[in-house]
Symmetry: C2
Subunit: 283 residues, 2 copies
């Protein structure tokens, strides 16, 4: 089945990438935490359209999980991930250990002010510093021409675009559209945590985002639309709702409370049972 080559140390990753470079090939890169689904695979296929060789990484990064989050429970199945990646056109899997990524003495952190502060930055303290640091490392380890991240994690994508520009990393960042189930639920590795009853309710998150965006495009007020969406989610069985907010897409700055004319992104995070779901849409 899968004959996908796997490397576990940075030196081996670099030597394979260097060999491709000597052949003049463009390199694409798709960093993941594994537990792959169609969303990840669509990013691999997107990378494939922009590069002759595609590297994917699978690394469940401990520094982006809070002390009470699901680092230990996070689903891990490398053989399944490798087979899926091979099928999607991936050429190499980089699957490092925690010690390879954070050797003894490691003490450097990348922080992004501004765009990483609201929303999940409030709800998950330290999360985006963990993301920014590991992504900086991964991009330097792989040194791709283009790296692809999902719009599903829209704030993460904005943080990564910011740090790549600010630190002058020589890589192009590409966002891939969110893959969804037929009922609208955004695909997520964490959907595996949902009970059948919760799974039936989960699509309401996307519906709430649609309602907010529809209301704003009909001239409604931002604060009213956000409040109504939170109420709808609570009524549907979500709770607590961390946020439902319409924001400026590039900066994630707040919009005024009144009618919106420019570009807008609506983002939400809410707990459903023991599972925290996030989603976002724009137009």
């Amino acid at each position: 089945m899968s004959s996908l080559p796997v490397v576990r140390i940075v030196a081996d990753l670099r030597s394979q990438v260097a060999a491709w470079r000597r052949e003049g090939l463009r390199i694409g890169f798709v960093p993941t935490m594994g537990a792959l689904h169609e969303g990840h695979l669509s990013l691999v296929r997107l990378a494939r359209t922009r590069a002759e060789r595609v590297v994917a990484s699978v690394f469940v990064n401990p520094t982006q999980f809070g002390p009470n989050e699901d680092f230990d429970a996070y689903p891990r199945d490398e053989a399944r991930d490798a087979a899926l990646l091979a099928g999607a056109g991936c050429d190499l899997l980089f699957a490092p250990t925690v010690d390879e990524m954070y050797p003894a003495g490691a003490s450097t952190t990348v922080t992004v002010a501004g765009v990483s502060e609201p929303l999940d930055g409030q709800a998950r303290p330290g999360h985006f510093a963990g993301v920014a640091t590991v992504v900086t490392k991964l991009l330097n380890q792989c040194a791709p021409d283009v790296a692809v991240f999902g719009e599903k994690d829209f704030q993460q994508l904005a943080v990564i675009r910011r740090l790549v520009r600010d630190l002058n990393l020589p890589v192009e960042i590409l966002g891939g559209p969110t893959a969804r189930a037929e009922d609208g639920l955004a695909l997520s590795s964490r959907n595996a945590y949902l009970t059948d009853a919760e799974r039936a309710v989960a699509p309401r998150l996307k519906a709430a985002l649609d309602d907010v965006l529809g209301s704003l495009r009909a001239g409604g007020r931002v604060d009213v639309a956000e409040r109504e969406a939170v109420a709808a989610l609570l009524a549907a069985g979500f709770g607590p709702v961390d946020y439902v907010e319409a924001r400026v897409p590039a900066t994630l700055d707040r919009l005024g409370p009144g009618p919106v004319t420019g570009p807008v992104r609506v983002l939400a995070a809410a707990r459903l049972g023991r599972t925290r779901l996030i989603d976002n849409i724009g137009d």
Copy 2:
């Protein structure tokens, strides 16, 4: 005289470096804040022994100066710097503006815990975050094979070695020995601030370091040697003395107070009139 090419934007730096790379040439890099002296030129010559092309940067980085420090007063003379660099075998000067380095919206910071915390980390809050961030940027902008930094800024060198390892920057870091005047004073752009009377006293800083190291190698206690050196500096006219400390070279961890057997670095920072001088030695 100087025919040193100067580039002011990152894109031009990259295209020159890329052209050299296509010829298979190794690139050396010497980041500076200008106001060059023999110490900087020795770093350029050291880079030359390890690379076929040497880039130097001159950028007085505002983010590594505290609000009451000498950012505005820091000496600037690009024509003189360019002539000196050309004479030392430099091939290209990168001299960006503050706006080129920090465009509107820049908000990413690199921080290094541990090694950047004691000594100048205490005396100059925020200094090493400024250094770590700008050096990460410069290394990504130039993408050299080897970058050379002076041992004169020993803690800075340790911070840079740490961040390069932690962020997996694909570059070799080389330390160049401190250049000194005949009377032992470490060459520094800030020596230009000294009055004649202060210049006569300044070599006592190096003498105090020699006394500490000699005392430790003779079996003396660390705490006693440090205290005596501070007293000697104050008696000579320095003040305040920020620190005179013997530390573990690689980590800058504290040594025990008792006799020292392993490697040691002795570091000092003290004010002399309006000028803050730093120096360090090892054996």
